[in-house]
Chain length 241, copies 2
Amino acid sequence: MTTAKAYIKGSAFPPLSEGTLRLYSMRLCPFAQRVRLVLAHKQINYETININLKEKPEWFLERNPSGSVPVLEKDGKIVYESVIVCQYLDDVYPQNRLTPSDPYQRAQDAILLDYYSNKYIPNFYKILRDQKDEEAKDTFKKAVQKLDEELKARGKYFGGSQVAMIDFLIWPWIERFSLVAAVFPEVVLSKSNFPRLFAWKQNMMSLPAVKGIAFDAEFHQMFFQKWLEGSAEAYDVGLEE
Amino acid sequence: MTTAKAYIKGSAFPPLSEGTLRLYSMRLCPFAQRVRLVLAHKQINYETININLKEKPEWFLERNPSGSVPVLEKDGKIVYESVIVCQYLDDVYPQNRLTPSDPYQRAQDAILLDYYSNKYIPNFYKILRDQKDEEAKDTFKKAVQKLDEELKARGKYFGGSQVAMIDFLIWPWIERFSLVAAVFPEVVLSKSNFPRLFAWKQNMMSLPAVKGIAFDAEFHQMFFQKWLEGSAEAYDVGLEE
């Protein structure tokens, strides 16, 4: 059972099936997308329950009191927080392993993710909310430069010659990069501005897992506008009645 | 080579020895303490270089541009961020393993750590800076209650019957609990207020790794006062000239 429309407060709980992996998601959520990328790359079967994050069903809040997606559920086991869910999936489903086997490489990837989570992601949203936030723009630009430089040492992917977990964890906010670039032209992701990150974006877009679930810039913009307005309609944007 | 006094801006770089594990630390830093607990529990030999975090040596900033301790260095390999360093040590030195072998338990511990990192730690500092911050006090109290409830299901330790990584990652801000309780008496860590967390504290204090590097409440208070004032002297508090 895969739903497209989001479940909303008051809606009945969709029954669970024994042995079926379920993802509580939101179609446009970058954090949930991380998990969907890992599921696709590892070719894991699952069902999707989309959640209206403005008007959350009671049964969803029982599963994750913090109310965020993604949440994974199977046979009574519940896991949430995107990085934790991705790691759990990679541990439990060993095919197409995404985590480096070398502990030092795992540590370096965790350090890069920590930097990205603290310097890139929060400033991405700060700029979209206030394009005059110069401190956010400055830190964000440095973070983009840092990503470009990291690729110099790392290679084709952040994972090296092969795509790895760190690539999928970074991807969703690069897919949405044009939202920021539209209001902050200095960071336009071009070949001349950030050659390695630009090439990485092309390489990532050629992967079936990435291509299969990507939305285009216009669609992201359409959702983001409604989300910023706090509209409960954001979650069914682009769907037929 | 173990130093007690903190290295300061302008001081010469203490030479590295091949094969020696080095920890850049600060005696009173709870994040560095996490790593020192893991090192002690796993009985790993290392040298300590304490850093004056108000006036940081240039060679320290070269190693970790964000300027925080702990930083680990050995034979050209550098790792920082406390949780990442602890995990790296547990991966590289397999004795007295602290990470659960079950992926679901690892995920549950990561979820608890995420909650603790976002709800407990930041509000711990907010209350110390402004004891009238009612929102911080409310969230902090809920976090303390949550820790107590978690132990109901988990047992003697957060790790169950044995101490685990999650226990050492939580510990440093419980050792310093009296700093908050002094200005927010509702959360005093007593047997009647939080029976399981109170018992856990006693159990933790009986472990050699914990006992061996604990400071008492007065010492934490003395350091914390100087730290709040932004004094560079904080880092050598209690040491002989």
